[in-house]
Every structure is written in structure tokens, then in C-alpha cells.
Amino acid sequence: MYKFLLAFFIVVTSTTGAAEPSQVQAVSSLTQELSAKELVTKIETQYQGKTSHGRTKMLIKTRHWQRTLEMESWSEGRDKFLTRILAPSKERGTCTLKVDDNIWNYLPRIDRMIKIPSSLMGESWMGSHLTNDDLVKENKIDQLYKLAIIASSTERITIEGIPLPQAAVVWGKIIYVVDPQKLIPIYIDYFDEEGVKVRTINFSEPALIDQRWIPKVMRIIPLEKPEEFTEMQYIEIEFDVSLSDGLFSLKSLRNR
């Protein structure tokens, strides 16, 4: 779950604030000549604001229950990310901090912090269909996969990603479909080691914000339970805000 969340934040942050219109044009015209890796890197890095601050809604639907969380989050570059639950009130104040490959959770009810050990990175984040691993790895597609364009048109380019040998990735393959005009992802399919499609992330409702297209909604569908999903939608977001010193530290988790 975390992975998607982070990816979503990154996508949101980068599209909304980071780039100038002229750059967008330039990138668009360049896509045909770019390699797959360059294209993905382009998409991902251009979404990087220096910093961001926003509010998101996360809807989790499972066979047994459905719930909506509202969260406030901050990011700095690719590697620092903090989110805090605003609603429901029972969980208000629950925080997740990611710095590099480490994730901590803060639980206000018991006033305790827990570092997620590497062995538990595959566990669900906040009961959603994202894992802790997703938070850490989602924004590094260009670094973890060997990418190749396998189909392309003016509307969409299909990129296949095979994990690099040294990358500790749980997937066997991904199919990354992007819109070269708007420079946004359309969907990503995840395949397991046997080549069976196990998960899809759909990006939808593209909106032009600060002259950049960003998908406002991201839906994660685990294919073994197709009736379930986690959907994230941003409510508001601002970029290149000044963030207080030590925001991405354990101390700030508790003080917030």
C-alpha cells in the first residue's frame, strides 16, 4: 500500500509544481526519440518538486469492510516522505515516515514508534492494498528495472520492465503504459515470477495543474481479489513550500 501511496504523492507533487510549461513542450516533442529508461526517468523526475505538502483521501475497500482515511503529507525529493492521518479521529495522529529505504510508524494511542524491519516490508500499509515495500520502491522504477518500449503510438507508449538482477523486487515483470502527450502514466500492470498478472494500478482523471497534467486518482486493484481496491485521490497540494528543519525525523513524528 505504501508503495502506491508514495508513487501517487510523487506523481501528484511533480505534476503540480515542478516544471515550467516550456519544458513540458520540449519533453513532449522529445518522447519519440527517447529511450524507455529516459522516458520513465523524465516522467518521474519532472514530477519531483523540491518539496511538497498536500492532503489526500484514501478509500480502502475489501470484501469485509470499507473505510476512508484522510491524510496530510509532506515530501522532500524522492527519498523523504511523511504522512499523518487526519481522519477518522480514532486514528488521528498516526504517522508514517520514510527516509531512504527505512519506514517508521508512529502510533499516538500508545505514543510509540515502530521501525518496520526489512523482513516485514511486504506487509500491508495501514490496511490498504499497498505494502511498505511499495512506498520504498515505487518511485525507483527507472533504477530497478531494465526498461524497453514494446509498443508506441501518439496516444500511448507501452514499456516493459524486467527487474535488474541486483534489484530486490517482488515482481517478475511490469508493463508501464504512459501517455506521451500529457506525460502521465495511464496504468501499470504487475506480473509475478510465473508471468501471471497480479496487480494493476490505474491512473485517471488527469487534471491540468500549473500547466502540468496530473492524474488525480490512482486505484490499486489486486487481481486475486478483484472486488477489492484501494483508491487515492488528492484534495489539495502545494509545491516547493518551505518545510521546517527536522520535519523528516523521528522526533517530529511524536511532536506533531
Binding site: I60, T62, R63, H64, W65, Q66, R67, P88, K90, E91, T94, N105, L107, R109, I110, R112, M113, I114, K115, I116, P117, S119, L120, E123, S124, M126, G127, L250
Partner: protein
């Protein structure tokens, strides 16, 4: 019937021989009942060491739960009892309610805390103390006593968390409604179930607290039935299952297939033992019976001469043998069963002299423990009756073809 009376009286004719025959029969029969009871005792030990520790003899859960546990496959115990009717079987010792879920546990100072995934088992400490042997597995500290926020950890899990009794254990998970569950618990004790793999993830809490923490209300994930006779689990489960579709009733056999597979061999072993005991007995008794038979030829001739039919004469010898076998059998099973009852209620511990044996995830306690049982009593009894008839079959056959004139000539 006169034949029966003669048969019965004949037993006391040569008292010593009858007594010797009967002593042999009583000895073999009682020893056999005892041996079969002892076999069952070993089997019970084997089964109960595996089942009574934690699993119970029968698991009641929502369909599919046993194979794929999910926090959402829960139910109100009342729902089950409403459907089945309470106390449907008289050999039930009791029920344990269980809740099982997963959580992250961590311990130690925040800066270098250890975090481990674990299986949280919510138990009712009162019911468990009566039925399961979980509390006996505590190797350090104490079991759940019903105090607030207690947790008991498997030995391996405690080691990984570097936690000692009295330490704080942090629990984080998601409740049945998806909400975040978190709690600070106090490590009450450390448990060693004998299964290393399980001990490296098992954590036990009071079921009330687990239900609250994981938003389960009064619901449970399973009911564990504990029986007096573990061997009856399959029938009981079948009977229960017939009465319900909304629950799955699983006997221990499918949870401990290795132990279940012994059952067939066991019965075979019992039959084999019976065959050996009785083969030896048949050889002894046949001899004495046949000697007695030969000595009475003249008498048989007289009976035939005065008009007794050969069929009735054959019956006479069959009855004699049958009565000896029957009386000996009754005495034998009485002695054997008495011994079994004695050792059932007062087993003798032999572990000072022998090491315990480990088998199939369970271990066999070396003790003199017997289980009196209907079949282990009746089988030897019925078999000795059959033996009585078989031993007399040859003499009886000879009587059918007896020539009175020849018989009479024997002095």
C-alpha cells in the same frame, strides 16, 4: 437344558484340569485386555500430547477458516450452539473459544527496538486451564491470568524480540474493520510448545482484550472441543457436521495427519497381539481339552446308546468349552479392565527410567497409562468365546462321526 447342565457340571469333574485351563484363559484374556488398554494408553498419550496442548480434538470454525484463516471469518459462539443445541455429546469435556490474528510485535527501546510478525491467539484463561495444556508449557514467568494487557510469547519469538517477563511489548495490527490496532502489553510469560517453528511466532493474549483491540465484539474464530476420548473425535465431528452447514467441523485427524495415520497400524497391532496371545492359548487349551475328551469316550458311547443324538452330543462338548471360555473371559476382562481403570486414574510415571520418545510432532510420555475401552474389552472377550468354540471344534467333529460300539469298547 440338560446338555447345558451336564456341560456345566463336567467343568467341575476334573477340577484341577479345568482350573489350569481357566487360569491360562483368564491370564491370557486379562493380559490381553490390559495390553490393548495399554496400547490405547500410548495412543491417547500420543494424540493428546499433540491435541490437548492447544489444538483440541475438534475445531469448529467458518467454512474454509482452518485452511485459510482470516480475521473476518468470525462468528458468535451462540450462533453455533443455537444451531447444534448445547452439549450434544456426553463425552465432551468442554469448549475453548479462540481468536487468532496477526500482528507486529516489538520490544526494546525505540532506537533499537526489535519488531517481529506474530500470530496472536486470544484465549479464555479459565477454559484453557481446565482443558488445554497451554499453561503447562510456560517455561518462564506465568500464563495469562486474567490481568490487564498480559501477553505470553513463544520462546523463539521472545528471543527474537529480546524480551523477558515484565518487559513491554508493543502490538500493531489492523482490526477486523481495517482500523489500526495498537497496544502496549506486558510480557507475562514465555511458553515452549515443543514446536520450534510455532514458538517463533506464537503470542497468547486474553481473548477479551484481543476481541476489543481487533474490533471483533464477542465474536470468535474457532471453538475447540475437548473430548474425553480422543479416538471418538471423527464420529463426533461427523455427527456435528451433519447438523450444520454454516460451520466446518474438523477433527484432529486432518490437522495431525501423521498421528492419524498411526491409527490404522495401531488397530492392526492390536489384532496382531490378540492373535499371538490367543494362538498360544489355543495350543495350551486344545491339548488339555482333547485329553479330557479322549478319556470320556466310553461315556459318550453310553449317551449315544441310550438315545442321545450325535448333534446334541457334539453340542455338549462345544458348550463345555464355550462355558469355560465364557467364565474365564468374564473373569479375564474384569481383571484386565480393573487394571486398566486403575492405571487410567493413577498412571505410573516411568520417565525416571526411560527417555521420552518423540514422534510426529508429539512425544510419547513413558508411563504406565491404560485406557479402558469398550472395544478393547469386548474384542478379547468375543475372541475368547470364538477360541472356545474353535478349540472344541475338532472333538465336536469327532463326536459327530462317533461309532457308539467302538466308543463303548473303551474302558
Amino acid at each position: 437344558m440338560i446338555i447345558l447342565r451336564i456341560a456345566y457340571r463336567n467343568l467341575w469333574r476334573n477340577k484341577r484340569r479345568t482350573q489350569l485351563t481357566m487360569i491360562a484363559m483368564v491370564f491370557a484374556c486379562s493380559l490381553l485386555v490390559f495390553s490393548l488398554g495399554y496400547y490405547d494408553g500410548i495412543l491417547w498419550n500420543l494424540i493428546n500430547n499433540a491435541t490437548e496442548k492447544e489444538n483440541g480434538h475438534i475445531t469448529i470454525a467458518r467454512p474454509g477458516y482452518v485452511d485459510a484463516p482470516s480475521i473476518n471469518s468470525n462468528f458468535l459462539p451462540e450462533a453455533f450452539f443455537d444451531e447444534i443445541g448445547k452439549e450434544p455429546i456426553n463425552n465432551i469435556k468442554g469448549y475453548c473459544s479462540r481468536v487468532t490474528t496477526f500482528a507486529l510485535l516489538s520490544s526494546g527501546p525505540e532506537s533499537k527496538s526489535q519488531t517481529q510478525p506474530s500470530e496472536i491467539m486470544g484465549i479464555d484463561p479459565v477454559a484453557e486451564s481446565k482443558l488445554s495444556k497451554l499453561a503447562d508449557c510456560v517455561v518462564e514467568g506465568s500464563f495469562i491470568k486474567g490481568n490487564e494487557r498480559e501477553i505470553v510469547l513463544g520462546r523463539g519469538l521472545a528471543r527474537r524480540l529480546k524480551a523477558k517477563p515484565g518487559d513491554e511489548i508493543i502490538l500493531v495490527s489492523n482490526g477486523a474493520d481495517g482500523s489500526i490496532a495498537s497496544e502496549i502489553l506486558i510480557l507475562a510469560g514465555i511458553i515452549d510448545t515443543g514446536e520450534e517453528l510455532r514458538d517463533s511466532s506464537l503470542a497468547i493474549m486474553n481473548i477479551r482484550e484481543v476481541q476489543q483491540l481487533f474490533v471483533l465484539g464477542e465474536n470468535v474464530h474457532s471453538l475447540r472441543i475437548f473430548l474425553e476420548d480422543p479416538l471418538s473425535a471423527k464420529e463426533v465431528a461427523k455427527r456435528l457436521q451433519k447438523r450444520t452447514k454454516s460451520f466446518e467441523v474438523t477433527p484432529w485427524h486432518s490437522i495431525f495427519p501423521q498421528i492419524s495415520s498411526v491409527l490404522g497400524i495401531w488397530f492392526g497391532m492390536q489384532l496382531f497381539t490378540m492373535a499371538i496371545y490367543y494362538a498360544a492359548l489355543a495350543m495350551i487349551t486344545f491339548n488339555t481339552m482333547y485329553m479330557a475328551f479322549l478319556e470320556r469316550m466310553h461315556e459318550f458311547g453310553v449317551m449315544r446308546a441310550i438315545g442321545l443324538s450325535r448333534l446334541k452330543l457334539s453340542l455338549l462338548i462345544l458348550f463345555e468349552s464355550f462355558i469355560i471360555a465364557g467364565i474365564s473371559g468374564l473373569i479375564g476382562i474384569t481383571i484386565g479392565t480393573a487394571a486398566n481403570y486403575l492405571l487410567y486414574y493413577h498412571p505410573i510415571d516411568l520417565s525416571h527410567w526411560f527417555d521420552n520418545l518423540s514422534w510426529g510432532g508429539s512425544f510419547i510420555k513413558i508411563q504406565l497409562f491404560c485406557v479402558p475401552g469398550w472395544s478393547t474389552t469386548m474384542m478379547p472377550f468375543l475372541a475368547i468365546l470364538v477360541l472356545g468354540i474353535l478349540v472344541a471344534a475338532f472333538p465336536a467333529f469327532r463326536l459327530l462321526r462317533l461309532k457308539p460300539v467302538e466308543a463303548l469298547r473303551e474302558a
